[in-house]
Amino acid sequence: MNDPNDAAEVQQQSSAEFEREPVPESALLGFKSFIGMYAGEHCAGTELMIGPLFVAAGVSAFDVVGGLVLGNLLAVLSWVFLCAPIATRARLTLYYQLEKICGRNLVTLYNLANGVMFCFLAGAMITVSATALGVWFNFPMPELNDIYPNSVGWVVAVLAVGSVIAVVAAFGYNAVARFANIASPWMVLVFLVFGIVALRQFIVETGSEISSAGDLWRLADTVIWRGGEPLPGQIKFTFWHVTFFAWFCNMAMHIGMADLSVFRFAKKSWYGVASAAGMYVGHGMAWLSASMLFALQLYKAGLVSDAAVRTAAEAGNLPAPLPGPLAYGAAGVAGLVCVIIAGWTTANPTIYRAGLAFQAIFPKSSRVKVTLITGFIATLAGMFPALAMKLLGFVAIYGMILMPMGAVIFVDFYLMKKLGLQSSYASLSRKTFNWAAGLTWFATMGTCVLLVKYAGVQIFFVSLPGWFVAAVLYIVLSKIYQTKIQPVMEGA
């Protein structure tokens, strides 16, 4: 059994200590600490939404299984080779490292973007928890393509869940963080139970005889993830969609360098492989289990062909991927408890982090007040089901927005001095806004939007060329900007 004391240690230290100095040797943590943290953090409420959305996107068995194996591997490698080496050499938080490169005002802008994204993410987690209340109170719940709240019951449920989460995040963050650590091993196993129960029900429903791995694969390929057209209103997911989604869904953390704040406590950069615990448990097993629950719901509704799906859609009878009812069907009350806890324990730190990001912009406001307001915004966002139902696209946008700053840090750390330029330029020139970094950020986002709008590149893929655009732009703009403004050498 993994003792999450270590996970708590990483989380606590990464948020509270050595904010403006390198982590000293005496505060470094062992490999086990990072395994616990990643396994817990990436088995969240949103996994219950993402898995079913893969099915809604019409994935085939090979696409989803192969795509997750490759995509999660690429994510782990991004932590190991991009984020952790810089973290273990500089040993600074993301924010302090960015401040040295970009200046305080640009970091404030980054904080704003980060805080807004966290708010929406927390909103999706509140949505997930609220679907559990729908099972108990039986109010009309959102449909797959709903954008706006569709019933008073839904609004009240989201308001109730969101208010509790916001108040707890503001006043009892540490208690919930401890509760989240306790819930984590149990939650992982309940996700596994979802998958086992769903698989058994598929075998019973289809009357399949499973006596070999080949039989199991045939069931997976022809019934569970049968491919074909996506559900109406959804984008078709192929092997490459799943691969890039799994790779980039935590892009802000690895390529975007947010986890510099975590891995600055690692003794060695290879500790980045600990992220595999989160990827293959949360973004592998949990996604597959959750997707099987929704696939089973479609199968039981007789939606076993594209024609049947079209007919059901035209009649308005298409089932929605709602985590509450799905979990209740597979695991009863414990499943509902899992949905609520999964949403709550992950929304709690997300609202807290968003609050911290906003507080950096308004330093004179109290943390409690800012967290409450942040929680209220997240709750409002959670009332709109489009946020959860379009979660795949939102997560891709989230990564795309924060990715350029990761490229800036990478270039600053490895390339600037080799190219005869200054690294940590804002710190040396005492600028509060490094325009080379700022323009790189804005222009990269603009380029990505143009690529999506006019070049037919889907949002799930655009961050890959976007990273190279950001890296080249930062070098070119720094060449121009740094020659115009001479650095003020410290101690000169």
Partner: protein, 58 residues
């Protein structure tokens, strides 16, 4: 005492997943799986806070 509590927590975790495995093999009804799951959940959340996150006494 800590060791006993850890053992109970471990059994609760096993009981979280074991009924589902027995159900998968076709030897248990789903309703019974759900009840055992609730029981294991209650035991886990009642017992585990007494040792997890608390420093071991020297």
């Amino acid at each position: 005492m800590r060791l006993i509590l850890q053992l109970i927590s471990f059994i609760a975790l096993v009981m979280t997943v074991l009924p589902a495995i027995v159900y998968f093999s076709g030897n248990m009804e789903l309703d019974r799986v759900k009840w055992l799951l609730i029981l294991a959940t209650v035991v886990w959340f009642v017992v585990t806070p007494f040792w997890m996150g608390k420093k071991e006494q020297s």
